[in-house]
Symmetry: C2
Subunit: 371 residues, 2 copies
């Protein structure tokens, strides 16, 4: 069964639980629910437990047959619940037959590591920005970063192109620059192009990125549609890095929304995300450590045959935090440094080298040392 | 210029306003913003005004050139703001050159009225549910409702089909039933099929609905992707009824998120929505009257050449509320009665007739009387 646990502010936990179970499956007054529909379709209330903060944990199980796709899943476990005050989707367990419907990330942690031939340590990623800078500038930054041993160059989520031509010119130039650097270093720095394009240009955008030599795309699943991302990942051999734009609303009010680990972890993996960027605590945004750890955990937890994905804490991280982040998140992490590397007074190359040296010293043994 | 107003909890309104203007356009430390980029790309802070509740209204204008598509617009006005605590997108003004990029609803209020040949009064809509009932049952409900003079039959958002065949069988049967009824009444009751399908089946689903004779689709833009809906509406001659599933999170916390009128009104119109269903106050969900009125206002306000759209208040409405809703929302409204019509002790036909009689008596004059 699909087991969803909702944390709810309520005086009538059993009544609310039944209301959710009905709302999410049949959405009719009780009088219209006959025995067969109640047995086969309506969610079942498994239990209601009082939480230490006075809320109730409402455990509801839904028949797996109701869910054949990602839109089905989102609709059944959270569609109309999104409109219920004081109700938060706090946990989600999916049975093997539901998980088997999802291909998940095309690469996952192991696949990305093979592309890069880097093992046993966090990856270091930088960001091409700001919007408005020239392609020459971006190519130069990408090249310096790759020459200094950086692992992943990603385009900023604000690089929204006026035309397909603008996109292809930039990606072509930057991929070429990374390739040049890789030729010198013997390494395999990866390039992720920003594929946040209108739906009718998306296919062309993704195809162009791959044709030009990018290994992956940066994409905001909640802005473009989670199933759009799943569909792209299922049809193309490309790595998917998810940007959290438009996602924050689900997390801000801790008495509503969805637990970040479920959305940015479990559901993103079902949508084919290989690397999930999330806002780290202590940066520009106000996220809690336990929430961030929950995302990282959900990205790597067993999930049927769905591959594990990288946690990518970001959002105003400074290079001084490498030790702390490496310790907190462990080796299967992408450390995203945008401004910190781009603005370093010693230059991009030096900052990247220093960052990688530190990462390597923190994860000395194993095959990771070779990269 | 694109003018976005954010209501924010802050002690440093100017600083936060600049941070938003930078975050949403270039997302780099100030040191990386040169004069040209600051002038042409970065948002400009127009002003910060203290609100009666102690928050600040931060007015920021963004260059219209940054926005060529719906993903661009969502990204620029709200992408990373979604992750900022205590910041709500409270108002949005779009200039003619941005609006000109959007086709908007294919029908709008006037177009839907022409399809139906009903003018000057609210439309009455019912819902086929619950999931699990037979196609015969749904067809019978649709026929009774149409025979009694109902205007729109929509499929419930929970009717998520296992296969394309299931979808086509139901839609075919129900459209046929409505057609039969229309043949007897001489009226033109419309049918909206639930197109919440995985992206790789969406095109086939929509084409089948139209081929089988449905005039429109029911679709949840925030679950499937706003630009997915825009793209469908732009390419097909079909009426779009938007379901609010997955949208509620944007509204629950009044110190965060997006004002409902902007998302379910303005942005939905840009996404091609002809009829926007929203949760009415005083029903199963906890929405405020002024928020509902704001949605209705935004659906009908001038917006370049983008057509006006119907407001469809719903969510546990009873037939006793017809007068109140008609008065509050006026003639350009779709009154959605699911359970209330389906469960009426007098039967679906009688309930529908009574509802329409009441609506006609409230809007007697004008050409509406003829329908």
């Amino acid at each position: 069964m699909i087991r969803a646990t909702y944390h709810a502010v309520t005086d009538e936990p059993e009544k609310l639980a039944r209301a959710i179970a009905v709302e999410e499956t049949v959405e009719v007054p009780e009088a219209l629910i006959d025995e067969a529909i109640d047995r086969h379709i309506v969610g079942k209330v498994e239990g209601c437990d009082r939480l230490p903060d006075g809320r109730f944990a409402l455990r509801i199980v839904y028949p797996p047959d109701l869910v054949r796709s990602l839109p089905d899943l989102l609709s059944v476990v959270y569609g109309n619940v999104s409109m219920m005050e004081g109700v938060r989707l706090a946990a989600l367990e999916l049975p093997p037959d539901v998980l088997a419907r999802f291909k998940g990330p095309g690469f996952g942690i192991e696949g990305i590591r093979e592309l890069l031939d880097v093992h046993g340590r966090p990856l270091v990623c930088t960001v091409l920005k700001p919007r408005g800078a020239s392609d020459e500038h971006f190519a130069k930054v990408a090249e310096e970063f790759a020459l200094a041993g950086g692992d992943i160059v990603k385009e900023d989520n604000n690089l929204l192109d006026a035309t397909q031509g603008d996109f292809e010119r930039r990606v072509g130039r930057c991929v070429e620059a990374v390739r040049r650097a890789n030729g010198k270093t013997g390494r395999k720095c990866l390039y992720f192009a920003n594929a946040c394009a209108p739906v009718d240009r998306l296919e062309r955008t993704v195809e162009a990125a791959l044709r030009l030599g990018a290994q992956g795309i940066l994409i905001p699943p909640l802005l473009l549609g989670l199933d759009v991302v799943r569909d792209l990942a299922a049809r193309h051999r490309l790595a998917v890095m998810a940007h959290p734009a438009f996602s924050g609303t689900f997390f801000e009010d801790r008495r509503h929304g969805i637990e970040p680990g479920i959305l940015l972890g479990t559901i993103y993996r079902l949508a084919g995300v290989d690397i999930s960027i999330f806002v780290n605590h202590g940066g520009r945004f106000n996220y809690r450590r336990e929430e961030c750890d929950g995302v990282a955990r959900a990205l790597r937890a067993p999930l049927g045959k769905v591959r594990r994905a990288f946690a990518a804490p970001a959002g105003g991280m400074t290079l001084e935090r490498v030790d702390e982040m490496a310790k907190e998140y462990g080796p299967d992490t992408v450390l995203v440094f945008g401004g910190a590397i781009l603005c370093d007074t010693g230059g991009i190359g030096k900052a990247t080298e220093a960052c990688l040296a530190r990462v390597r010293s923190l994860f000395p043994g194993g095959p990771g040392a070779r990269a």
